[in-house]
Amino acid sequence: MHRKIEVAQAFGPVVEGEALVSEEGFSPRYDLDRWSGLITKPGHRLEGTSIVDKICFFPTAKGGIAAGWAFYDIKWKKIAPKAFVFGVTNPVMVQGAIFAGIPITAGWSPQPRGVVKTGDRVRVDPARKLIEVLS
């Protein structure tokens, strides 16, 4: 079966990589260790997990303005993910990802649950507003 998710908004080039699917929202300031790329916020459902080179699925965006520089910072440190796939996002995440040149999408149909799981290989195609599960 060909599994895919349509997204409402998208930026960036086509990327392929390993999915990291979160049930909890994300902020690069509140949740992430910006030196290792590990999620370190105590109690986060992905605590101890690396986002480096992953295609990260998060239902919501958390955090304030300071998050805007954080994506460029982690890209500079070579610990950025390959793409961010958000259910709902906010302007700071989008401004930050575009500034860093990291593909980002928002709005998904259907929801990732049951379609894609952590470890799957996926392709994000922002121009076609499409995410495909490859394996």
Binding site: Q9, A10, F11, G25, R29, Y30, D31, R34, T40, K41, P42, T60, A61, K62, G63, G64, I65, A66, A67, G68, W69, A70, Y72, D73, K75, W76, K77, V88, N90, P91, V92, V94, Q95, G96, I98, F99, I104, A106
Partner: protein, 406 residues
Amino acid sequence: MELTSEERAILAGQHGEAQRRALEYQLEVGRFWGAKRFVPVTSVHMMGDIEVMGDGGLAWLKAEADLGARCQVATTTNARCIDFAHCDRLGQDAGEVAKERELIATLRRMDVVTTDTCINYQTVYQPHLGEHVAWGDTGTVIYANSVFGARSNFESGPAALAAGLTGRTPEYGFHLDEHRRGTFAVQLAAKLADLADWGAVGKLVGESHQDYFAVPVFHGFHRTPTADELKHLGAALASYGSMGMYHFIGVTPEAPKDVNGLSERRVIGESDIQSVYAGYKLGDGDGRLVVFSGPQQSLLEMKKLAELFRGRKVQGHCFVTTNGAVLAQSRDLGYAQALEQAGVSILQGVCFYILQNLSPMRERNRWTNMVSNSAKIVNIIGAHRFNTILRRTADCVEIACTGKLR
């Protein structure tokens, strides 16, 4: 997006490479949000310090300045991470302190006014109804949209700076009428006598509506709220709910006449506020760190704190943050001296939350709890592994002067 002839000229490089790159970037952001055009802005407020932008951000900024990047509209800066008068005592890294100086010099080269404040709306610039601005942090944006009726989205550091360089921002979100209408009603039946109570309202409403485009309509309050009260309400709504706007019937300029058109309604009473305070775990009972920050203190907050601390002595550590203008006037009026005589550390131009080296500072001082009257800072400082506790202003002072948490 529809572009004006001037915007096409910018994209053709006729105003220099820095402006061209800035507008290209803004075009991508605008396309993502479906913006149809740009709107001119009159004021930009940006976040930019070495703690948030890192070495990569500083390198990028210096390259921009070298390209000739110069702000076209008044651009001011948000609170930063180093107080140069206190950095040694705080144990901040000398290398990062040097980078912060370099960063400030670079911003000034780009004609940025380094005000270093998150209360620009109280001390620097008050936009009027309908005025388009490009501001961040979130507390400044929600105040601009709600209390002034100005129009801004959350603009991150790079996005705000781009707006400063081009004098415009993509028209989406809170620049458009359709996103500025109230979406649910909140009746304020509690007394709300302290600033922390207003933050508690923001926490209750924000946590249950985590949505940038949710716009609460407050009504039914028994008196007129003050500017500082609306500041703490907005800062907490933005922090807990990622919200960018609220209405307050009879108070804010774009509020509806009544809440008749809103189907979702809730009431916040005294017991709701009490339940917020009761909800904090006291951890090991450590009461040695009390912080008045996030947002910075206004002159009237400084006055109140000076009255509460006068003649008393801080047992552990107590920090107050404010901006240069407020601190200078606080000295003229004797408030700063009263606080310092009580052992309070007044930090200038910073926010406690983004202090460079905060985690090592916490470890060195063996702080476990952080007590504050700001619901916002209580929410956002968790990544530094503090257990945080919201208390009313007078209770915070009592804890600071006795070391006893309650």
